[in-house]
């Protein structure tokens, strides 16, 4: 097998896994074998078997059902915070790239100062300021990742606005907003999409980290990070409590990264030509 075909196989597996995850998240209430929050202390710490595929946790809750439900919070965090980041980044990036020199300098200075903070630290700061919870976490992640998009959008906009077709459209008297929506945005979408898949994966990891620290999703809502937090008290008695959420989290992030990598090659005309 060539390098390319291996990469293709990885890409297909990753896409399949994400689709599966998406379907699971949407249909979770219909397909889970048990309620994810129902406790039954008589069956605490049951190891994985045919009745409880991934075993049970310290309250006797079914881990398999909790992991399926956990995909909901993971994907919601990914979608919402990436959308926030793209939205803010797009506006600021376009403004900086197409606006005046002064607004460009000020906006980029702002974005760079945001970028200079370590991500998790900034997220913890934001969350401890606005209170613990999923909504705050999504907002924090969205804001924190917006500078990356602002940088990409600005760079692309600077190039595209000097292309001849944009110049021509301007000469023909097309209004500014129409020009932005028809000519500029479609041409920078490729890069934004690639960056989105990477941000998506990072957002899931950060949500899990914050939940692990007790700052994110609040119990008993199933979240992979929260499940790992519960598991750490029982690593010896019930290792399955840590293993399965950890594996699913790792696969999800890995898949998004593979998709991101592959897309960046496929959508980049410069690499394709080689």
């Amino acid at each position: 097998m060539t390098r390319r075909s291996i990469q293709n196989l990885f890409f297909k597996t990753a896409v399949l896994f994400i689709i599966l995850l998406g379907v699971t998240a949407v249909t979770a209430p219909l397909i889970v074998p048990y309620s994810p929050t129902d406790q039954d202390v008589s069956i605490r710490f049951s190891p994985p078997d045919t009745t409880h595929l991934m075993g049970t946790d310290n309250f006797g809750r079914d881990l398999f059902s909790r992991i399926l439900f956990g995909s909901q919070s993971a994907l919601i965090v990914g979608i919402v915070s990436t959308s926030i980041a793209v939205f803010i980044g797009m506006i600021i990036g376009l403004w900086a790239g197409l606006g005046s020199k002064i607004s460009d300098s000020i906006l980029m200075l702002l974005m760079d100062s945001l970028l200079s903070f370590p991500t998790i630290l900034l997220a913890i700061t934001v969350v401890s300021f606005f209170g613990y919870g999923l909504v705050q976490v999504m907002l924090a992640i969205g804001v924190i990742f917006s500078p990356v998009f602002a940088r990409i959008v600005r760079a692309e906009a600077l190039i595209i606005k000097t292309e001849s077709f944009v110049e021509a459209s301007r000469a023909l008297g097309t209004p500014v907003f129409k020009r932005i929506f028809i000519h500029i945005i479609p041409n920078l979408l490729a890069k934004v999409i690639v960056q989105s898949t990477i941000t998506f994966a990072l957002a899931i990891v950060i949500e899990a980290s914050l939940s692990y620290l007790g700052l994110g999703t609040q119990p008993p809502t199933p979240s992979w990070g929260l499940m790992l937090k519960d598991a750490k008290d029982y690593l010896i008695q019930a290792p399955w409590m840590a293993v399965y959420p950890g594996l699913v989290l790792a696969f999800t992030v890995f898949s998004f990264n593979i998709i991101g990598d592959t897309l960046s090659e496929k959508l980049n005309p410069r690499i394709l030509k080689q």
């Binding site: 309250f59 700052l215 609040q218 750490k232």
Partner: protein, 501 residues
């Protein structure tokens, strides 16, 4: 060439000889490694009511009197005391030649300054009430302190002997010293280092007034909130004592040959506190419903290390305990019915605040949440850190429900004082409040017991809490540890007798 080689060889040898080999002359200090379950908010014994603070301060400070192993109050910094016939004048005779860690010698002026500081509004001590009864303090000589009280006050000796009765040096009080981060007392250990959220190092006070004590030179209080880390530390020998082993860890610890376990009932009152000031919990029926909805024994067995259910606000082993557990047995159907009768809007969101540095309370909270959900209530969990819990939940009553354990007190008044007149549960009941106040100024066990029985009965029926129970405590020790004591009713650690075998 050879010379150069020799130099290199010597250098290499110097690098490989362990550093310890040169320090043979000094006596090696063997510290005791202890696990503390959280970072104290302050170490000023007058500034807080947090147990973690007193668990550390017990080794740094002394009190005039203290409870012994059996809970009997015995002399400490005071060698003896006399009480006048009318119980109004308490005269304490201080021990001679006791040194503070800063070199000051203990005198009656220090005692006077200490108690003046705690009742000073500026100190804002949560335990001020315990000493408000003091009318005047006089110091006839260097070693005699006379307290004159407003009224006969039975809990006075208990307050003097509790952690918040710690004696501070006058010179530092006058200098406005920050006792919160640099505590200075007369205690068996001197605090030499406090790395926030990591460890507190205590070194032996060589001038301690109990000759021959403490035994161990140094105690490292490692701040470790996670019980699994504590347990692994105990098994591997990195920790010598874990004072509270989780129920789920017992099977693993029992397998270890180097660890011994000791089980006993705590004086803790485990509760789910209810904020009675706001709807729907201002309605007695709703509070009763909460009590019916909770399977208390199940929570004790799963979240805590097992225990005895209590039906009222007094710990199970207390001499003033009275059994009311039959009032609201576990009965979810009855709970649903009561909620219906009360006409509660079930969709209204109820916030349950959990102190995230106490995993057992968090686990109990998750169980309460599930049981309350089953009777139809919409309960949302909100985790908070310890300082937020103290400042917002406890001091400002910003909560609907919360989960906590109240430590026992030397005198039942310490446990009950203030209830019926608000407190953090915002529960008002004039009859209970006046019974509790009356019991405080009544002398004699029988007389006081009769009053407390009535007050506890009201609290049991009116349920400003879900009274879960007094939990067991399983202590884990390395086999070579001997003589570790916990102060009865106060839940603090007494390392003076602790030693390596």
């Amino acid at each position: 060439m050879i010379k150069r080689f020799t130099v290199a060889l010597v250098l290499v040898l110097m690098l490989t000889i362990p550093g310890g080999a040169f320090a043979n002359g000094e006596k090696e200090i063997k510290p005791l490694n202890f696990a503390l379950s959280g970072n104290p908010d302050t170490l000023d014994p007058q500034a807080t009511s947090g147990t973690l603070t007193f668990q550390v301060d017990k080794s740094i400070f002394d009190t005039l009197a203290e409870p012994d192993e059996n809970g009997v109050i015995v002399p400490a910094l005071a060698e003896s005391w006399d009480v006048s016939e009318d119980s109004l004048v308490w005269t304490f005779h201080l021990r001679k030649g006791v040194k503070f860690h800063n070199g000051d010698t203990l005198s009656s002026a220090d005692v006077k300054a200490t108690f003046e500081r705690i009742v000073d509004e500026k100190t804002a001590s949560p335990n001020k009430k315990a000493f408000d009864v003091i009318k005047s303090i006089s110091t006839p000589d260097n070693l005699t302190v006379v307290f004159t009280l407003d009224k006969p006050y039975a809990p006075f000796l208990g307050s003097i002997a509790s952690g918040w009765g710690a004696i501070l040096p006058k010179s530092l009080i006058d200098a406005d010293h920050d006792f919160g981060s640099e505590p200075v007392g007369t205690g068996p250990y001197v605090m030499t280092e406090w790395v926030r959220d990591s460890k507190i190092v205590l070194s032996k006070n060589k001038d301690y007034w109990m000759v021959g004590y403490p035994k161990i030179d140094q105690i490292n209080m490692n701040i470790i909130p996670e019980s699994s880390v504590q347990m692994q530390g105990l098994v591997s020998g990195q920790l010598d004592i874990v004072y509270m082993v989780g129920n789920d860890d017992v099977p693993i610890l029992e397998k270890s040959e180097d660890v011994k376990l000791v089980k006993g009932l705590t004086s803790l009152i485990m509760v789910m506190a209810i904020n009675c000031s706001a709807a729907p919990f201002d309605n007695l029926k709703v509070r009763q419903a909460l009590n019916y909805a909770i399977d208390k024994q199940k929570v004790l067995d799963t979240a805590y290390a097992g225990g005895k259910p209590i039906g009222t606000f007094m710990d199970y082993g207390n001499a003033y305990y009275k059994d009311f557990t039959n009032l609201y047995p576990y009965n979810p159907e009855k709970a649903k019915q009561l909620l219906k009768e009360a006409g509660v809007d079930l969709s209204r969101e109820i916030k349950m605040y959990l102190p995230q540095n106490y995993p057992p309370h968090v686990k109990a909270g998750e169980m309460y949440q599930e049981m309350l959900t089953k009777v139809g209530l919409n309960v949302k969990i909100q985790m908070v850190d310890w300082s937020t819990w103290i400042s917002d939940v406890y001091r400002k009553s910003q909560f609907d429900l919360t989960v906590i354990g109240h430590t026992g007190k030397l005198d039942p008044n310490g446990t009950l004082s203030g209830y019926g007149k608000g407190k953090y549960v915002q529960w008002n009941n004039d009859e209970a409040a006046s019974l509790i106040e009356k019991a405080a100024v009544t002398m004699g066990y029988e007389e006081r017991k009769a009053l407390y029985d009535k007050a506890l009965g009201i609290m049991a029926r009116e349920v400003p809490f879900v009274y879960t129970g007094s939990s067991y405590r399983i202590q884990g020790f390395r086999k070579n540890i001997d003589g570790f004591r916990m102060t009865p009713n106060l839940d603090t650690f007494d390392f003076r007798w602790t030693n390596f075998k």
